[in-house]
């Protein structure tokens, strides 16, 4: 039996189990009196179903509500997780057709800017609301004299950031709706745009935006890792987090007293997410009915109250009570850009001009076992990052980025560094990107695997580069291997090495990629020790290299 077949059997068995479970629930619930008012739509339980939903990972916190919804409606929700903007790509390109019945992201605003994407959505139902806000560490709030934070403007936040008094973490706007919403909000506020942003507004705001982003010390492809990185960062290094109000308030539940965040919704305006549960045009009739049942349930007044209390998002059903911790004073809603050109232009400016540049080091296993298909897929995956066709700056090496490739086997074979220049000069970024690709294509497989030795060498390379340039960059290491370290330093040696590092280099995250027969425990150990994150490249090396761009 081949592996694919095996898996589909297991899936079928799971589906069957769910069906049985649902059927039992329906039976036992038929005699339970409904809690809803008689005017509410009934929640029929006769037709059990499964709704497959491509969703933003923030929605994991809805699990308890969806369990209750399953009991009440017989609809089981199965999630697949992705970032908002990547999800929009999946819908627009048709990759979601037939695979999912619905999508559920914090916002469909970006998706809707694309005509192809817009046509894929049959109906959209906002379920709850949360504005993007700035969570400021209480001590920092005091130092800045911002009292309880209820009167702070974006201009004040920008000034504090450019004066070095406010450092913050923010998710990558090319991937995450919270990051993108922040970018829209600050660009609107700094340009003084009275309404939706235009290209001219973005131009006008550029100098202030650049200053604002000098304060960004953490970047992340996901809001989960961002919160983790904030918790890890030594006190004083990161004073604030930009994220949804709901995420910040929920995070407070697990933060130490000195790390507590005061949620600042700037008075000059916010961008809010309204979490539209959206049915895909490709869904079949049975799933459409499941969708209708589920949304009707989620919008019920009592369910809305429950959602608000559980997730700290705001209810959308009028009359439903919001969680008591949510302040009720109103904020101006800053409009989202009305065209893809403005949105993508803003993202490309962020990546290539506005943000602090990155120093990115790749430690690449080119041992003998990489020979053949493995090396080819590595070359292809890294080569893709040197392409110039990338409208919103989602994957390619950015202007002003410093990229080092280290090829290793029994020892480091070579290390080559490329500085991608800014656009506008001669030669432009294209020539340097081509040169990176040439190095990538020259990788050759031979020798053993001295993993820890080579990783230590990466730290030394970074140290030399930082000393020479005296600069301040987002710095990270990617470690790709298809095997186990079998030469040179051991994991114990590396731990000692890492413990001995000064605070700066010690905080550099390592993002190991598991490939082939890589030793997961070694790689997970490295991720844990350095505050990085382990990625699995077994299924698609392309996808993983691209995903990691959000962390670099």
């Amino acid at each position: 039996m081949n592996p694919t077949k095996h898996r589909s059997w297991r899936l079928a068995a799971t589906a069957l189990a769910l069906l049985v479970a649902t059927a039992c629930t329906s039976a036992s619930h038929s005699d339970v009196p409904p809690t809803a008012k008689p005017t509410d739509a009934p929640a029929p339980t006769a037709q059990p179903g499964v709704l497959r939903v491509l969703a933003g990972s923030e929605l994991q916190d809805m699990a308890p509500v969806l369990e209750e919804a399953q009991k009440a409606t017989g609809v089981t929700v199965q999630f697949a997780w992705t970032g908002s903007l990547d999800g929009a790509d999946a819908v627009s390109s048709g990759r979601a057709d037939g695979k999912y019945d619905a999508v559920w992201f914090p916002s469909n605003q970006y998706l809707r800017l694309d005509d192809a994407g817009k046509a894929k959505l049959l109906s959209e139902t906002p379920v709850m609301v949360s504005p993007v806000a700035v969570g400021v560490r209480s001590s920092v709030l005091n130092d800045l004299g911002w009292a309880d934070g209820s009167k702070v403007t974006w201009a004040q936040i920008g000034d504090a950031a450019s004066a070095g008094k406010l450092s913050y973490g923010m998710a990558d706007p090319s991937r995450s709706n919270s990051g993108f919403s922040t970018l829209v909000a600050v660009a609107s506020a700094f340009s003084g745009a009275g309404a939706a942003l235009t290209e001219a507004d973005v131009q006008k705001a550029s100098p202030s935006l650049k200053k604002f982003f000098t304060g960004q010390k953490l970047t992340s492809g996901s809001s989960g890792w961002l919160a983790q990185a904030y918790t890890r960062a030594e006190s004083g290094k990161v004073g604030a987090l930009v994220n949804y109000e709901s995420v910040l308030l929920s995070l407070n539940k697990s933060l130490a007293p000195d790390q507590q965040l005061t949620v600042v919704r700037p008075v000059d305006g916010v961008v809010s997410a309204d979490y539209p549960l959206s049915l895909l045009t490709s869904a079949s009739q049975r799933e459409r009915e499941s969708f209708q049942r589920l949304t009707a349930y989620l919008l019920k007044e009592d369910v809305q109250k429950r959602i608000s209390e559980l997730t700290l998002r705001r209810p959308v059903t009028p009359g439903a009570t919001a969680a008591p911790t949510l302040p009720s004073d109103r904020r101006r809603e800053l409009p989202f850009p009305g065209s893809r050109a403005v949105a993508d232009g803003l993202l490309a400016s962020y990546q290539n001009e506005l943000r602090r540049p990155s120093r990115t080091v790749y430690v690449l296993d080119t041992s003998g076992s990489m020979e053949g298909a493995r090396l080819n897929s590595l070359k292809a995956a890294l080569g893709r990052l040197t392409g110039t066709d990338d409208t919103r700056g989602v994957s390619r090496f950015r202007d002003r980025e410093e990229v080092t490739l280290i090829s290793f086997a029994s020892k480091v074979k070579w290390a080559k560094t490329h500085a991608v220049p800014a656009s506008g000069g001669q030669p432009g970024p294209a020539a340097e990107l081509a040169s990176i690709n040439a190095d990538v294509q020259s990788l050759a497989a031979e020798g053993g695997t001295a993993l820890y030795d080579s990783l230590e060498e990466a730290y030394r390379v970074i140290d030399r580069q930082q000393k020479a340039a005296g600069d301040d960059r987002f710095t990270s290491i990617v470690l790709m291997t298809d095997g186990e370290s079998n030469e040179g330093a051991t994991d114990g040696d590396f731990k000692k090495f890492h413990d001995g590092l000064p605070a700066g280099p010690k905080s550099i995250p390592v993002f190991p990629i598991k490939f082939g027969e890589a030793a997961v425990s070694q790689l997970q150990g490295i991720a844990d020790l350095t505050g990085g994150k382990l990625f699995d490249g077994t299924a698609s090396l392309d996808g993983v290299f691209e995903e990691i761009r959000g962390y670099q």
Binding site: L113, L122, E124, A195, A196, S272, R331, P337, S339
Partner: protein, 365 residues
């Protein structure tokens, strides 16, 4: 069994004998016939209501409907082959749907609802103080939104912070504009364009290129200011209810009335009637005999008419039903649109409306 009936009904329909197999609504257990269709999102709660379902079931029908933007309904009508009816929120997409389905009869309009502007009470008072709105004390406290003054504000890019009394409300800043749905996908957004074009064209329905040329710049401004627009009327209204979004939202009167009539607190929500506004004519395009039956029931069945009014719609065949339903409810509604002096322009012909929408979206031809 159900499917067999459907097939029979289809065969009979093809033969031209349409009434033979439609279940009679006489006593005894009635076999339900499922009627499948597309509805605008604003009618979803109506069709999901148990009393509506019961009354339809009494007449032998069970309605199965997907909600979608009225304006894109013709696309979906093209994609889906199993539909009995389409029920958009305006007459505008009707011709196109009829064309796709090869129909010619004039469709029924069981009920209608004027388009209004929803805001918060303090904002309405700021508008009143600045001559952009009036409150009629003699007539149930009905608010009127002054369209000429609003268009003047749009043209000059007037800002909230320039208005007397706005300083007390920090959320009132930026350019004054009304938020609508995307006119390319949703009927209420398109009706806004129709309304503005009428006023901008010296209160004449746009029916030539000169009318488009005369109105396109302001239409583009009114749209561009909004930035990203949502695709159905449900969304901006939900956002408003959740306390986010622009303080001025273009909505169906029925959306607010439905809330008020269900006993839901609408907080400080206020309905302002533009002194000139479009009525949304909820039109049933029936493709099958069962679709036709649904349309007739919605128009003529007294119980359904009562329920329509309770869901905030104004039944065409019973002008007093709405007034009766909203009496004493908050926010205040105009019981009689004529008495409230609300003028109603015609909607431009479909091809001109499409051109106006394209111009508004910055794609003028």
């Amino acid at each position: 069994m159900r499917r067999a009936l459907g097939v029979l009904a289809a065969l009979v329909l093809l033969g031209g004998v349409t009434y033979a197999l439609i279940p009679d609504s006489g006593p005894g257990p009635t076999k339900l016939v499922t009627v499948t269709g597309l509805i605008g999102s604003e009618k979803r709660a109506f069709f999901e209501n148990q009393q509506v379902k019961d009354e339809l079931a009494k007449q032998g029908l069970e309605v199965r409907a997907d909600s979608t933007g009225s304006w894109t309904m013709s696309d979906k009508a093209k994609q889906q082959t199993d539909l009995d009816f389409a029920f958009p929120a305006s007459a505008a997409p009707v011709k196109e749907i009829q064309h796709i389905w090869g129909l010619q009869d004039s469709p029924l309009v069981p009920f209608y609802s004027p388009l209004v502007i929803v805001t918060h009470a303090p904002v309405a008072r700021v508008l009143q103080e600045n001559n952009l709105a009036t409150l009629d004390d003699s007539d149930h406290g009905v608010w009127t939104f002054k369209m000429d003054a609003y268009l003047a504000a749009l043209k000059s890019g007037r800002k909230w912070q320039d208005l007397v009394g706005a300083a007390a409300h920090p959320e009132l800043s930026g350019t004054i504009f009304v938020t609508t749905t995307d006119p390319q996908s949703s009927s209420s957004g398109a009706m806004y364009i129709a309304l503005l074009s009428y006023i901008l064209n010296n209160r004449q329905v746009v029916s030539d290129q000169a009318g488009i040329d005369a109105t396109k710049d302001v239409l583009h401004t009114a749209t561009a200011l909004q930035g990203g627009q949502k695709s159905s009327s449900d969304e901006p209204f939900k956002d408003f209810g959740a306390g986010v979004g622009n303080p001025l939202v273009f909505a169906y009167e029925s959306q607010v009335a439905q809330l008020a009539l269900s006993g839901t607190s609408t907080g400080d929500m206020v309905v302002m009637y533009p002194d000139t506004t479009i009525y949304s004519d909820h039109t049933v395009v029936a493709r099958s005999a069962n679709g036709q039956k649904l349309a007739s029931l919605l128009q003529d069945d007294e119980e359904l008419r009562r329920l329509e009014a309770r869901f905030g719609f104004r039944p065409q065949a019973d002008p007093s039903a709405f007034a009766k339903a909203v009496q004493g409810k908050k926010p205040d509604f105009a019981p009689d649109l004529t008495a409230a002096k609300v003028k109603q322009p015609q909607v431009p012909a479909q091809d001109y409306l499409l051109k106006l929408v394209a111009a508004a979206k910055g794609n003028a031809q």
